[in-house]
Amino acid sequence: MSTIAWLFDGLLVAALLYLAWSLLSEQDLFKAVVLFIAFGLLMALSWTRLQAPDIALAEAVISAGLSGVLLLDAVGYVQGEKRPASTQSEAVKARRIEPVRTGLNLLALLFCAALIWAVLDLPPLDSGLSSIVQAQMGSAGVTSQITAVLLNFRGYDTLLEVAVLVLAAIGCLTLREADQSAAAAHLREPGMQVLDGMIQLVIPVMLLVSGYLLWAGEHAPGGAFQTGAMLGAAGFLLLLGNRMHFQQIPGWLLRISASLGLSIFLLVAGGIAISGRSLLEYPVSNAGKLIVLLETAISISIGSILIILFAANPPSASSPTIDQATPSEDTTEIGSK
C-alpha cells in the first residue's frame, strides 16, 4: 500500500512540476492556459492527498474552472491582433536585458534554495494550532473545524477577504463601465443545441450541489466559499450559453447581492461590539445560527461577485481566434463541476 501511495504521489508531483514548467514556457498562450487548467485539476487531486478536501473543492471550481475561463477569454481578446509584433518585441527585449535575466534567475534560485533549507530544517513535531482549535470546538457553534476557523476563530480574515472581493468587483465594474463598447459586443448567437441541452441538465444540479455544500459546511467539507464558487460557475455557464445577459440583470440587485455578505458581516460584528463583547466574539448559544446566516450571505455575495468579475471580462465577438476558444471554455466549465 505504502509503495503504491509513494508511486502515486511521485507521479502526481512529477506531473504537477512538468505541467507548471510547460505552461510557463509554452509559446502559444492558448495552450498555456489549457495547461494551466490541467494544472489546477491536478492541484485539486494533490489537496485530497494532503487531507484537505475543502481546498480541493474550492481549487477544482475556482482555479481549474473560473480562472481558466477568464484567462481563455483574455487570451482571445489579446491575441486578436499584433501577435507577431508582441513576440518579436519580447525577443528584442530579452536580448537587451540578458545580464538582468541571469541576475534575476540567480536571485530566484537562491531564494528557492533558502526556502528548501528552511522546510527541511523545520522542527519535526509541532502540532501547530490544531490543539487550540480542538480545545475550543465546543464553543464554535459548528462541528467542522475549517468552518469554525473561517467564520468564528479567524472571522477577521474572512471579513477582510469578503471586503477584498467587493473591492475587486467595484474595480472591475468601474473599468468595465468605462469600456461599454467591448461589453456590448459579446452576445453570442443562439442555436448551439448541445450547449443549450447541457445547460438545462447541469444548472439545476449545480444549484442543488451548491445548496448541499452550504448545508454540509457546518459539519463536513464545504461551506460559503465552495457554495459561492459553484453559484458563480452556474452564472458563468448561463452567461456563456446566452441564457442570461449581464445587461439585463438590474444594477440594484447586483449591487445588493454583491455587498450582502460584507454588510451582514459588518452588522454582526458591529452588533456584537455594541453588546459589549469584542469584535466577532459570537455568543456561544447563538454562534451556530450566526455562522449559518453569515455563510448564506457570503455564498450569495461570492456568487454574484464572481459573475461581476466574469461580466467585466466579456468574450468579445470581434476576432476569429475567440470563436475557436469559446467551445473549450464551455467544456472547462462542465469539467469543473
Binding site: A5, D9, V13, A20, L23, L24, S25, L29, A32, F36, M43, R49, L50, A52, I55, A58, E59, I62, S63, L66, S67, L71, A74, V75, Y77, V78, K82, S86, S89, E90, K93, L104, N105, C112, L115, I116, V119, L120, S127, G128, L129, S130, V133, I146, V149, R154, D157, E161, V164, A168, A169, G171, L175, D179, A182, F225, I305, L306, L309, A312
Partner: protein, 106 residues
C-alpha cells in the same frame, strides 16, 4: 522524508518557477499565469507545513488561510485581466515595454 515533505518541496519549486517567470516574462497574461503558479506553490507549502505531525489530523488554520487565499487569487486574476484589457484597448499592447513601467507596478 515523508510524502507531505514531498508536496512541501514541490510547493517551493512551483513558487520558484512562478517567481522566475513572473520576473522574466514581459507578456501580461504570462505574468498573471506565473502569479497563479506562485500562489499554488505557496498554498502547497502552507498545507504541507500544516500536516507535519504524522498520523495526526492536519492543522485547520493554514487550511482556512489557503481557502481564503484561493478565493482572493481568483479575484486578483479577474481584476488583473480587466486591467490588461484596458491596457490593450488603450495601447494595443499586452506586454510591458519601457513606457509602460507604471502599469507594471499594479
Amino acid at each position: 522524508m515523508s510524502q507531505v515533505t514531498l508536496y512541501t518541496l514541490t510547493g517551493v519549486i512551483l513558487f520558484f518557477m512562478g517567481l522566475r517567470a513572473f520576473l522574466l516574462y514581459a507578456h501580461l497574461v504570462r505574468k498573471i499565469l506565473a502569479f497563479n503558479v506562485m500562489g499554488s506553490g505557496i498554498f502547497l507549502l502552507l498545507v504541507g507545513i500544516a500536516s507535519r505531525v504524522p498520523g495526526a489530523a492536519p492543522d485547520p488554520v493554514p487550511h482556512a488561510l489557503v481557502l481564503t487565499g484561493i478565493v482572493v487569487s481568483v479575484s486578483f486574476t479577474a481584476f488583473g485581466l480587466v486591467l490588461l484589457r484596458r491596457i490593450y484597448a488603450k495601447t494595443g499592447k499586452a506586454h510591458i515595454t519601457t513606457e509602460m513601467e507604471d502599469t507594471d507596478a499594479q
